[in-house]
Amino acid sequence: MTSTQSQKSSDIAISIRNLFKIFGDDPKSVLPQLHDGIDKADVQRKTGHVIGLNNINVDIQSGKITVIMGLSGSGKSTLIRHINRLIEPTAGEILLDGENILNLPDDKLRQLRQTRMSMVFQKFALLPHRTVLQNTMLAPMVRNEDKVKSEKEARYWLSRVELDGYEDAYPHQLSGGMQQRVGIARALTSNADFMLMDEAFSALDPLIRTSMQDLLLDLQEDLHKTIIFITHDLDEALKIADHLVVLKDGFVVQQGNPQHIILNPSDPYIEEFVSDINRARVLRVGSVMKPAKTTKKTTGSIAGSIDSKQSLEQLIAQADGDVKGLYAVTEMDKVVGHIEMTQVYKALVRYNLTTSRRAK
């Protein structure tokens, strides 16, 4: 099922270029004013138009999970709906295989949605009059494919999301978490290489949410789908993101590697955002360590070694609370760098606190 997923990890699958969306009676008229960098509330007061998206530029990497994060009203749901054009943009382009999705005629667009993009919704959006199996078979059914073959496929994906035995149940008979697993099975059965997930786990309670995140990461390990995931939950974003895009009031505040964003927040909005997280659990040893090249000479003896993927919390536990000492950081049993415990504790303190102290 994943034969098409053999591209290099750094390939750009979709690039969003200068995308604007303005809601109102005459969006085009407001467009020129936006380039001058007008405030969202200002535009609304003056013209009665609401800015949905303001000059979005994002590259979505093939086979990776791109998380778009923002508070409600930041335009994240609007943005994801532009990728399969459930919402029409005001200006800009979205390039997929060099073709602008926004120029596709209706039949081509329908074909794109049928074969290349699947979607998972916050409120599950299952068909209430169809059984779980029939719901899972939605995409092949829309494509008018052979029933027997698609049923086999649907059953396979239902078992992958651990829903065997529920094929003939109706959605209302399942719990929220189970319904969303049907939603995921439905998306996987479509066999599309892109998966759009719109706050897919936001309606679930915290424990189920965690297990759904694990399920997604598990599936992603073999499938390498290109996933665009929307969330307002920073912990969720940090857990699953390969690439994190932070939206505020319709524009991109910062994007990049999530670890990098935590350690180097580019503006007060992000700082505030990341201030509440448990840094020890989120930050990885690999992002705090000094790479092997720069530390030519290691002073003192090495107290032990730790994998670069481990969190700082695990390192502290391994050091048994010791505040000094040097640890070797390994990747596949090869030393890639070193980390000092003092460095670890420094990384746990919020960025703005350390800088303000230094200023004194």
Partner: protein, 337 residues
């Protein structure tokens, strides 16, 4: 009647008025020459103005000209409507023939099967059997079957026409705005008023006359509730269907209509009940069935006949309502638990 004469002469219209005056017979009343007080000014209605000025028409001329106008367009209306509605007559005739000529011992098991299939409740089936036995025992069976066959044909036609109309209405706001006043009018027009233009156009002995009256009256709820049902379909589900690239047609038949089904069925239930109400009134224009017995009871003051027929109608109403409602309930259960 000097009240308005002065007005006309003031404007110099006396001559024009007199030219329209007809030499009417002098009635006793006009000779009596009543004294009128100054505050006794009548409203300048057509009749009162006519008295002052013969050129202004009377109210009865208005109704007469309406009638003339209607009679004038009648032949052309007939040539258009007659062939279009002829199948309705055939359908009603054949349904009446079928329902009244099939022996009761064939029809009874068929009814049991139909009721059991749609309602899935032995209680309701037993009730239906009891009612049919009541009709058979009191010799109201043929009348009840006639009424039922008319309702059957009219309801089927209402659904066949009404559901697509409702779908179109849900898809186009313009069409909805155009249709709503017409539906409002059909729903508020007194039932007898339906019959008037139909009597003009069609012969009173034609079944399509009452068929049309019933359909016009009963089609409104099925149209309205189809429109409502489709408009109420969960936006999230529609979005999901679009996200997976459904065509408009797939969306309609796989999502919108099935999800609107509970509302559509509620509309069908209403339509059935309204056809029953109208079929009784339609007995005035030769619709056969229990209604004719009621009419007989009223016309000839035969209390017992009218009362028994009334009970028969009530039982029929209960049967139709329970069967269609339990079918609706069953549908709701599979969808929403």
């Amino acid at each position: 009647m000097a009240a308005f004469e002065n007005v006309f002469s003031f404007f110099g219209l006396s001559e024009w008025c007199d030219s329209g005056k007809q030499k009417a017979l002098i009635s006793l009343k006009s000779l009596k020459n009543e004294e009128t007080a100054w505050w006794d000014i009548p409203f300048p209605s057509l009749d009162n103005l006519h008295k002052a000025c013969g050129s202004i028409p009377q109210s009865r001329d208005l109704t007469a000209s309406l009638e003339d106008g209607f009679l004038y367009i009648r032949p052309s209306l007939r040539t258009v409507l007659d062939p279009i509605t002829q199948p309705l007559s055939w359908m009603l005739d054949s349904a009446l023939y079928l329902f009244t000529n099939t022996p009761w011992w064939i029809l009874l098991p068929l009814f049991i099967l139909a009721v059991q299939w749609s309602a899935r409740s032995w209680k309701i089936t037993a009730f239906v059997v009891g009612c049919i036995i009541f009709y058979l025992a009191t010799d109201h069976y043929t009348y009840a079957m006639q009424t039922l066959s008319i309702i059957f044909v009219c309801t089927v036609l209402c659904v066949v026409i009404g559901v697509p109309t409702g779908i179109l209405m849900a898809r186009s706001n313009t069409f909805q705005r155009m249709l709503i006043p017409i539906l409002d009018m059909l729903q508020t027009l007194p039932t007898f008023v339906y019959l008037i233009p139909l009597i003009f156009i069609f012969k009173i002995t034609e079944p399509k006359l009452y068929g049309l009256a019933i359909i016009l009256y009963a089609i409104v709820p099925v149209i309205r509730l189809t429109d409502l049902g489709i408009r109420l379909v969960d936006k999230d589900v529609i979005e999901a269907a679009n996200a997976y690239g459904m065509t408009k047609r797939q969306l309609l038949f796989n999502v919108q209509v099935p999800l609107a089904m509970p509302n559509i069925m509620a509309g069908v239930n209403q339509t059935i009940m309204m056809s029953l109400a109208m079929v009784v009134i339609a007995s005035l224009v030769s619709a056969p069935g229990l209604g004719t017995l009621v009419l007989d009871g009223i016309n000839n003051l035969r209390l017992g006949v009218g009362f028994m027929a009334g009970i028969g109608i009530v039982l029929l109403a209960i049967i139709l309502d329970r069967v269609s409602k339990s079918a609706l309930k069953r549908m709701n259960k599979t969808y929403h638990g």
